[in-house]
Amino acid sequence: MDSAKEKLTSLLDELSKASKLPRLSAAAQDVDKIIELLSEAREQIANGMDPHMASLTMTKLQNPIRTAFDKVNDSLKAASSTHKKIGRSLDKHFPLKPLPSDTDTMAKHIPLINRAIAMHLLREGQFGVAATFLDETQAKHPSSASSRPDDRMVQDGDEAVADGEDGMDGSGDADFSMLHSHELQDRFTEMYSILQELKTHNLLPAIEWARANSAELEARGSNLEFELTKLQYIWLFKGPAVNGLPDDENNGQIGALTYGRLHFGRFQGRHMREIQRLASAMVFAPNLPASPYHDIFSIDSAFADVASSFTREFCSLLGLSAESPLYLAATAGALALPQLLKYTLATRARGTEWTTAQELPYETPLPQSMLFHNIFVCPVSKEQTTAANPPMVIPCGHMLAQDTLQKLCKGNRFKCPYCPSEGLLKDARPVVL
């Protein structure tokens, strides 16, 4: 069934083969040969300066030179036929498909795209590239930073103008001005230095950060601070042989115990049971692997886990998603592109474009991992619910779109389309999914 994959594989195999076929460089040898023949003849004639000798040498030169030129031409032909072979492989297995580019809606929003790219580079830790990019975009569009607010006013005629404005610690929107004040860059530099320390198994900077942001983290229902503290306890518990820290009273079981006494107190409300387990493990210290506590003390992936949840929390507190939105959007774009292409070809052929203003006219299936909001499609009307047409729960627990419910109603009553129960309109309520 998977002929597409086979096609790609054949293309790649053929290209790999072609790259081993004769190239232009093969002609060099015969060009050298010609030069050699010519200079030999020149030396001979120059030495004697004898007319008879000269004409003899020149006559004898004709054939070898012609042969050498023929060989050069053969090499050139071979190189060119390699190119043609590549062209045929591409045309056969990878024919050029035109991209939908007649309406480039993104071209109007270069400053916004530039901003997204700059933030992407920063969150990827590419600070040098980001700095170059910001300089270059500024040089090209000197007004883009100052013109952005207008840009927004025009686009956001509605209340959404406040978009992001009241975010993060009053630091304002993460827009170009923020990028330029290096604030965002500083944040990400902080994030990367903490991650760097985590990589070398130093939890202290991360713990310090978590403690400083403890209230926000708790409100998010994040256990990060406790997880970090717990890991530090376990890490100390393992002792100098494993953690490589100095062998003193701050390390090993004694060190862990001191650390735990000092820091677990604040988590007792929420994590009492786990703290008890961590403390009880002391008793089994000589033979932990066989104890009931072995699972909490095997920390193979623990550092990688806290590192990824640290990244997630850090970005969330900045109002940013943990994965780069630009990455997700580009990947989703590649996945949805075939549908867009199919649609543009079809509408162009028909010369019409039917569309609702706000919704795409065709389906673009994405994998579950790219789903971030619940999508509720009314099972009766097959319409996607929106703020204007919200999902409603009726007394039997079934959900329908508001418009559907209105149409089902006879007077104030309706019958559920999915079960025998009946209900009153006033008992149905809008819900937020």
């Binding site: 994959k5 790609l8 790259s19 002609a27 060099a28 050298d32 200079s39 004639i45 120059a46 300066m49 007319p51 020149m58 030169l61 030129f69 990878f94 991209l99 580019s101 480039d104 809606t105 993104m106 109007k108 795209i113 990019f133 686009q155 956001d156 404005e165 975010g167 929107d173 998010r220 229902g221 997630r312 940013l320 998603s321 943990a322 990455y327 580009a330 989703a332 774009g333 590649a334 996945l335 949805a336 592109l337 867009l340 569309t355 795409l360 006219p361 389906e363 673009t364 299936p365 994998p367 789903l371 971030f372 619940n374 999508i375 509720f376 099972p379 079934h398 309520r429 819900v431 937020v432």
Partner: protein, 443 residues
């Protein structure tokens, strides 16, 4: 199942954005060969001819040995020149093959994957994004950024810095009012440009003529007429109207208001020329006209966007990372908490002032709601779905009208340290006894 189907990689369709990445080395191989082959052919013919001539002359005594040596020196000089040209072309060819090999290796990684859920897919797709970014930077003239990113990611062979650097150089020269570089490029690609019926050279020749006319100097205008005879009149069958305009231009001063002559004299014509050049340049190499990132984004933003992403009425419920939601959510809480008698919480309900809408470890921030793309995505349509797609199963309704998956509520309750039998709203933080939950069905 639909999800599995959506996650499956169709290797044919998946590489729409990567066509130029795979094809360009081939196009450049041919261009490189062409630009070497023609001069080489000419050069080697002249060497062959001179050789024959000299041999014949020497044989019938017309050419002295001194002249034979002189001629041989001339041939040697020519051959050494051709050798250098060959070396340059061969080096370029090797570089292009190296690029092709690198791209083949890059695509092989994808060929080995079957689904986007494969852990290796992310690495591949990230590299693709880097390629798209470099393409974007190059096309918008951010050359240093493009080079810096390519270096940082060690992917110089996967991107086409040189190709776009050449394009930028010629485009800039046109924007600065010089046609020389563009004309030289036209000469190099004469045959191909004719094949694709490009009018670029004609436009450039006209511009030269216009500039000579603009001076108003008699000698220059005479030269303009000669120029027109040589370079413009030959086009009179192909572009009769334009050629007649050029003739008409003779009668008009640069400050004329008469159309089309005013437009012909306008300095904005240089921008038009620059655009025409870029179009011809991209077309010649079979490259798409728009930056690939634009295409990817306009398709991807729509596919990811939901009605909830920019909805302002939804009380911020569905917009985790959107700044708008955080104030509304907090307000919502206060009123809800005040009116709700059901919240028999023992855990303190803390809502720090800058609590960011989104709730828990289990909520992922939507890329469209995230600051980076939110404003950009405002301009695109949201995705069409014909079936509900829910993040959770086993949905339950809280008394405040919010619906969550049961498992997620339980997880959040545990993380928040609630006593058994209580749940906490993931967004608003309201606490309810589990007995007040109602099952709902999305059918």
């Amino acid at each position: 199942m639909a999800d599995l189907e959506a996650a499956k990689i169709n290797h044919d369709n998946h590489l729409l954005l990567d066509q130029s990445c795979m094809r360009l080395p081939y196009e450049l191989l041919r261009q490189n060969f062409r630009s070497f082959h023609l001069p080489f052919d000419k050069g080697s013919n002249s060497v062959k001819d001179l050789l024959k001539e000299t041999a014949n002359g020497s044989l019938n005594g017309k050419v002295s040995p001194e002249d034979v040596v002189k001629n041989l020196d001339q041939m040697l000089a020519k051959m050494r020149g051709l050798k250098r040209k060959l070396a340059v072309a061969a080096d370029e060819e090797d570089r292009l093959y190296r690029q092709m090999d690198a791209r083949v290796a890059h695509m092989r990684e994808l060929a080995s994957l079957n689904t986007v859920d494969d852990v290796k897919y992310e690495g591949w797709s990230r590299q693709r994004l880097d390629r798209l970014l470099v393409d974007y930077m190059l096309r918008h003239g951010y050359g240093s950024s493009a080079a810096a990113l390519a270096d940082a990611r060690e992917m110089q062979d996967l991107v086409d810095i040189d190709t776009f650097a050449t394009m930028s150089r010629i485009r800039t020269s046109l924007e600065r009012g010089s046609v020389q570089e563009a004309l030289a490029w036209c000469a190099e690609n004469k045959k191909e440009l004719r094949k694709m019926q490009s009018n670029l050279e004609f436009l450039l020749r006209c511009q030269q003529y216009i500039e000579m006319m603009r001076t108003g100097v008699h000698s220059q205008m005479l030269e303009a007429i000669n120029h027109a005879k040589k370079h413009i009149i030959p086009y009179s069958d192909t572009y009769p109207v334009e050629v007649s305009f050029m003739a008409g231009l003779l009668a008009c001063q640069p400050n004329t208001h008469l159309e089309p002559y005013a437009s012909l004299y306008s300095s904005s014509r240089w921008e038009t020329l620059a655009d025409a050049f870029v179009e011809a340049y991209l077309k010649l190499l079979n490259l798409p006209m728009t930056p690939l990132l634009h295409i990817a984004l306009s398709s991807g933003l729509s596919a990811l966007k939901t009605p909830a992403c920019h909805s302002t009425q939804s009380q911020g419920a569905d917009q985790p990372a959107d700044g708008t939601s955080s104030t509304t959510t907090t307000n919502d809480n206060n009123t809800a908490a005040a009116s709700s008698s059901s919240s028999s919480s023992s855990a303190p309900q803390r809502h720090p002032p800058h609590h960011h809408g989104t709730a828990s470890l289990t909520t992922r921030v939507c890329p469209i709601c995230s600051t980076e793309l939110n404003a950009l995505a405002r301009n695109v349509r949201y995705a069409h779905h014909s079936k509900s797609r829910l993040l959770d199963h086993d949905l339950v309704l809280l008394p405040n009208g919010r619906v969550y998956g049961r498992a997620r509520l339980d997880e959040y309750a545990a993380k928040s340290g609630l006593p058994p039998g209580q749940v906490k709203d993931l967004v608003t933080g309201e606490v309810y006894p589990a007995s007040e939950l109602r099952k709902v069905y999305a059918t």
